[in-house]
Amino acid sequence: MPLGPSSSAVHLQPVPSSSTPPTARAPSNVTVHPVALFSILDHYLRRTDTQERVIGTLLGTRTENGDVVDVRSAFAVLHSESSEQVAVDMEYHRTMYELYQRTNPKEVIVGWYATGTNLNTYSALIQNFYSQETAPHPAIHIALNTGTEEGQESGVKAYISSPVGVYPKPENAVFLPIPVDLRFNDAERSGLELLASPTPLPASDIALLESTLQTVLGMIDRVLAYVRAVLAGEKQGDKAIGRYLLETFASGTDDLDKGGFAASLQDTLMMSYLANLVRAQAEVSTRLALVTSS
């Protein structure tokens, strides 16, 4: 799933050839987990007044040939920028990396992040530093636009760099954009949904089910309205949509009707009964322990 506004960049991917060793490939795709993005945003909120942007280290995993980089977490790194120089606290970066390694040894340094969209000489210098950290793999750079400045939409962009010029210098680099996606597993997705809901409160199972069913009902209503409009000739029907609908509604509930429903219902009711029985027994048992023998 893409992050941020779609760009006009054409992402070229080298054709894998058997002659090149698999480790030498530059990443062609970046996936980011929400927790990394949230860490970056939190770091941005806690910056000092003088800081234009904040930077930090990205941790994650790579596929075997280095093709896809999965950014799984991020931590803040101290740095200072002035018109003359840029300084990154290397020692802090190392310490933090070691601390993170203790709880998650699988995640390694894959690159760095910065807020804002500004790619300048300093970015090239920092990129150069991180390339040494991630060698032999190339480092990736994620630019997160927080959208706090006027006229800018928030979004995430990922870059890899390549040296430029006849005599490559660390402060010169070309940043090549590569596609970046948001990635989450089931647990992370429900966490995200909890955060994105208008009233973030942990809800019960039934309440969640109800809201999901309401959404499905709303979708069915929408489809029904569309189909009616097409049938009445008010709208030009789209063949692709029609085929989609046919596919979706073709799956029937026949197997449920063939006695499976009753059996399943019995099982579920039995389970519910059993659960209630166990709870009642547990309650009685704990109360009985409080009864004195006298």
Binding site: T146, E153, D238, R279, L290, V291
Partner: protein, 372 residues
């Protein structure tokens, strides 16, 4: 049945009213809400979005083994604001001195590092992941009891249920130990008499603190951008792909699969089994105590009778003080373990109950002609 089910469901709302945006009012004076002495009791826990996502990630990374970490934040006017968290390395099973020292060092340097980037660095509690809602465990109680002494307000524990979360309902609950339990814990007395005195059941070990989730405005804005679908700029793409959103709605709550139900049932049975074993142990111990007591009593009675006879004959009575030395009464067994196990059983059964009732609803929803 179907009609009864329909009646038991909450009435459908006419239209989901859009939640009015609420603004966080800045109080005129902070003097009332800041308490240095920790006098204002905690009434609620507020979990920040960052902490939510970090806990979810940490818990889901290590699949079934329970994980724990520390919560960082501040309390303000009775609301404990948890703004950050970090995972703790997994304990080895044998807790030797070296690993615990290493853990302490890790914790200290992590806090120092976080302070350098201006993040909150005061520990307010810890979090623990669990499956199927059963979080009663000796370690949780022990850790929380240590925290209750050391931290301001005694600290809280946030329990995160992995099995619920992977089903689509992110579940977070906050707890702290009750005063009665803490009292008993400090005195290390979990005999039946002590439990009776304190009217202690498994439900009175922990008390739940209301928990709410907060997202800061920047995160909120970012999430909203993610949620908003934007149409593709390219012409002639498939309708399914032309409008994309980074966060499409998920319908995982509608999944009819009941693999989790089976596992839940297995867990319940396991917990019941271990409870039975524990009860057996307790019964054995109390029988032993009763036997020893009976033997001691008969000995004392016999000695008394003998003494009476001796006094009648005019002889000096034999001493009576060595009863306690002759018969060693075993100490009364601690009932804490059985209490916790009972709590486990109850929690598993509660989850089972919830899952089966929502399954019932799902089944009727899937049946086309259920007549609901």
């Amino acid at each position: 049945m179907a009609a009864a089910l329909a009646a038991s469901l909450p009435a459908p709302q006419a239209a989901p009213t859009p939640a009015a945006p609420t603004y966080e009012a800045i109080p005129a004076s902070m003097s009332k809400v800041i308490d240095i002495e920790a006098d204002i009791p905690l009434t609620a826990v507020q979990l920040d979005g960052l902490a939510v996502s970090k806990i979810t990630k940490h818990s889901s990374d290590s699949h079934s083994t329970p994980v724990h970490g520390l919560l960082l934040g501040l309390d303000l006017d009775g609301i404990l604001e948890v703004s950050n968290s970090f995972p703790l390395p997994h304990h080895a099973s044998d807790e030797d001195d070296k690993t615990s020292k290493g853990a302490a060092r890790y914790q200290a340097s992590m806090l120092r590092s976080l302070k350098e980037v201006r993040a909150d660095d005061s520990v307010v509690g810890f979090y623990q992941s669990t499956t199927m809602g059963a979080f009663f465990s000796q370690t949780l109680i022990d850790t929380q009891a240590i925290h209750q002494d050391k931290l301001r307000h005694g600290g809280i524990v946030v329990v995160h249920d992995i099995s619920q979360t992977s089903k689509g309902n992110a579940s977070f609950r906050a707890f702290r130990l009750t005063a009665a339990f803490l009292d008993a814990y400090k005195k290390r007395s979990f005999s039946s008499q002590s439990l009776i005195d304190r009217r202690m059941t498994y439900s009175s070990i922990l008390e739940e603190v209301p928990l709410k989730i907060r997202t800061n405005p920047l995160l909120d804005a970012f999430l909203n951008t993610l949620k908003t679908p934007h149409s593709s700029a390219l012409p002639g793409v498939h309708p399914a792909e032309s409008v994309t959103s980074s966060l499409p709605p998920s319908f995982s709550a509608l999944d009819l699969g009941n693999a989790a139900l089976t596992r839940n049932l297995e867990h319940t049975i396991e917990a019941l089994d271990s409870y039975r074993v524990e009860e057996g142990n307790l019964a054995y111990l109390s029988r032993q105590i009763a036997r020893e007591k009976a033997r001691a009593d008969t000995y004392v009675a016999k000695r008394k009778e003998e003494n009476l006879a001796r006094v009648a004959q005019g002889l000096p009575p034999l001493p009576e003080e060595d009863v306690n030395r002759l018969f060693k009464l075993p100490p009364e067994p601690s009932r804490l373990e059985s209490l916790l196990l009972l709590g486990q059983v109850d929690a598993y059964a509660k989850t089972l109950e919830g899952t089966s009732s929502s399954n019932l609803v799902k089944m009727y929803a899937a049946k086309a002609d259920a007549g609901v």
